[in-house]
Subunit: 253 residues, 2 copies
């Protein structure tokens, strides 16, 4: 009778939501979102339809539908008859996102651990392994595999909380994760990871597999908070890009 919670466990290393780009709208959605998250579309930048059409080779309607969905996810904003633009960033928003994510992720992690199960355990171990490999590879070629590392980092955190049995909780938390990822990557564009994130991941996994929910949540909170603090520090020093209104479209003047 129950139908869709396949995101929960079935495909541990699956890509994000909808998976395969069955329609141009889905394709546009993923491409634009990834460009925003990766910083290739700058915060506050105006998103005019024609340039986007050429950039992605996709017609106006699918683009507008994708942008509509992204506006529901808070990645772009749309105002009246004035088109779309990438959501600006700010320190306030960073802390808002961080605290709310802390709340959701903590709850989901605890539930996930309490429910336990063999499938979940092996999914966590597998995801950690894949992430570990990406970390090693990244140490060799620091700039190269960032996209890859991000994918696996996301998969690892998804696997940890994926057993909580609350699709809505996971859904909302994923929105925040993507927002958080955007802030993080704006920093990672210019700096390497500043601390031993790998060890933190291992500690969280060990606590989770030992069914020690309190410790796992504490470590997870610290993990997220440390990241947010690093981002905040960076943003405070380099205020560039903080809600710069129009940027990147300085083609005319």
């Amino acid at each position: 009778m129950r139908s869709r919670l396949k995101e929960t466990l079935d495909v541990p290393a699956a890509r994000d939501e909808g998976d395969a780009d069955k329609t141009l709208t889905e394709r546009a959605f993923r491409l634009i979102r990834d460009d925003i998250v990766a910083g290739r579309l700058a915060p506050g930048e105006k998103l005019r339809i024609d340039p986007l059409r050429k950039r992605y080779d996709i017609g106006a309607s699918p683009l507008r539908e994708a942008l509509s969905r992204l506006s529901s996810d808070g990645m772009v904003e749309t105002e009246g008859q004035r088109g779309f633009h990438v959501s600006p960033i700010s320190l306030d928003a960073l802390w808002d996102i961080t605290e709310t994510r802390l709340l959701l992720e903590g709850h989901a992690l605890r539930r996930s651990i309490e429910r336990g199960g063999d499938d979940w355990e092996s999914a966590v171990v597998a995801a950690y392994h894949r992430l570990h490999r990406a970390e090693q590879r990244r140490r060799a070629a620091p700039e190269a595999g960032l996209d890859d590392w991000e994918d696996r980092n996301r998969d690892f955190h998804d696997a940890l909380i994926g057993n909580c049995g609350q699709p809505w909780l996971l859904r909302l938390r994923r929105i925040l994760y993507h927002q958080h990822e955007r802030y993080r990557r704006l920093v990672l564009l210019k700096r390497p990871i500043p601390r031993d994130v790998e060890a933190e991941h291992k500690a969280i996994m060990d606590a989770a597999l030992a069914r020690d929910a309190d410790t796992a949540c504490r470590l997870s909170d610290a993990h997220i908070l440390r990241t947010a603090e690093a981002i905040a520090e960076f943003v405070a020093k380099h205020p560039a890009g903080a809600a710069p209104e129009a940027e990147g479209a300085a083609r005319r003047a």
Copy 2:
């Protein structure tokens, strides 16, 4: 520097998000969502474009954009190239939504109370007063003012948590509130409110104004849980409409 948190307090009794329907897309978004929440579009019902065009007198593109946004909010689902349909309902989803909302609403309420402030207090009192008047009116004409009562009930709960200072928390919680409202109204279509909800509202407000966050959260949790239990009981007895796939479109056969 900070820009948009006007939803938080500025306009206590404001209607939902985007307010005025500046574009047909916004208009379609609100109309369809309200029809789904009010049960005029049944759970699982297929949403074909042509019938919708005639129903709302809006073209295909704005409709599709509105449906795209609604799919991000979980009100409709879209699968590959097979169009849109109203999200089905289920007991599992009800509890998922309820528990997740409990988490967000509790946190937001506590924050809101802790931060206090005169503006917030008066907004809460005003919203309660408006709700109170609607309750009285509804006792006189039980069926009539349901839409009105729902608006004011939403405004009251919004006012309580609106002072938490976390726009993202409010944003995600609002998604869940609408989902919850949908389940509730599917029941209210056929039954009156089964308990003294008015007294519960008053108790929550009193605790909030007394800055007793623990009590307010406890009462709020109980309030939400009791509602969910009433819905669950009803849905268990009347399994009709639970993921009925295609319904209401039984025009052909």
